[in-house]
Subunit: 136 residues, 4 copies
């Protein structure tokens, strides 16, 4: 497995589990969002500051695969493995990896566009911040 | 049991349950909030319209008692039994009652203030809308 | 638009919105799950009864597209438009449609398998219940 | 302010905020629960292991006061300031304190009982683990 561009270290909270005793599927999407927002912050971009400047990052599609279930109290990494630019979309490839056995529990491909004052647009501030990550 | 001032009819969603198979405690607070917002709407007050006018209803305290657990798929009423005014606070007395056996699953006392342009205040619009509910 | 196989009628709860004032992306996944569970119940299959019999329906992948944002208080339908069977997978095609303007806000394709006593399997009880829905 | 018995260090996740741009009230209850479960783990008691042994810790009441609002991205401590035993109840006094300005954002008093095989009971394992914390 290649080194991810970025990762955060999380632990399942008991309320995130459902009656089957495992993390409810929708919560993986929360984890992926937290990782993307932390990634922005890591690159000097604050979700709120951007919003104040009229720039909103908007998820237009996400494909999540579930391979292994996380349980209450388990620790895991939520990664951003790579970032691509396709036309007006930024594509984040992400994983959730359980710490105890290094198993990939889930994979996601999230497509994001930036909306500037209500119109899809490519503000220079994002391209400059992300340029170093784009795959050759 | 007296007739409540207002009630809504809900059904537990499976994702609201935790690993013990019962509704997670924090979700009762969600149900109570939904009932209060629907109550506002029922009285011609929209949470968002109020916000646009600079009026925010803010919860300053809530006391929730848990007596019986709700399980996945169960139907229940979330009520507003009475509304009191104490100084600058509106106090909502609420209950969650399971439909199948009419058991009270939870009771709450929520204290709300209205904040107008950043300051605690008593806008006439609320007092007028609520006047008919205040207890003699 | 064809008539869906099944649909439920929901209303956005204010706590489901995030700081952008719109429903948080992960909550759409909650709505889609609620529709699938209600669909099971509609077909005489209870998520919990199945679990007691050792049969768990497990989401293995979901692809969600976001086209229009839902806001606090808005009413919408969450549908199951069609159900397909591909090998061991059941595929639910779903939509979220705003009531006020009939706009499709989101589309999803959810792939589910049934796990019987820990092994992926195809219990007759599901095939029999779903048979009338499979596309020719 | 006295030193708390226990505290955890958290950061607001954007999806925990609602349309007012602040953390939704119910999420404070999630934070308080996370702190109590981490406290158990810190004392060698695992929520799930206990459940397997037929011991469930059940919240019977919580009183939460809201003094200052947390916003997206803010860091805070969630504490357990003291633990009391009153008859069959354990009472956790907790706080949420913003890191940037050390302001108390919320206070809670949570009452918990232990249910052993369906009956309220006082298992020695809890009293032994908690004994060092009880106030003289």
């Amino acid at each position: 497995m290649n080194t991810p561009l970025f990762e955060i270290d999380l632990k399942v909270r008991d309320y995130e589990c459902d009656a089957q005793g495992i993390v409810n599927n929708a919560n993986y999407q929360h984890y992926y969002e937290v990782a993307r927002h932390e990634f922005l912050e890591h690159n000097g971009l604050d979700f709120y500051d951007l919003h104040q400047k009229g720039i909103d990052l908007v998820l237009i599609s996400i494909h999540v695969r579930y391979m292994n279930s996380l349980r209450g109290g388990e620790q895991f990494f939520c990664t951003i493995d790579s970032l691509e630019k396709e036309g007006i979309r930024y594509i984040f490839n992400q994983k959730i990896i359980r710490k105890s056995d290094n198993k990939v529990c889930s994979e996601a491909k999230a497509e994001v566009v930036s909306v500037v004052n209500g119109r899809v647009s490519m503000p220079a501030i994002l391209d400059e911040s992300f340029a170093k990550y784009f795959q050759k």
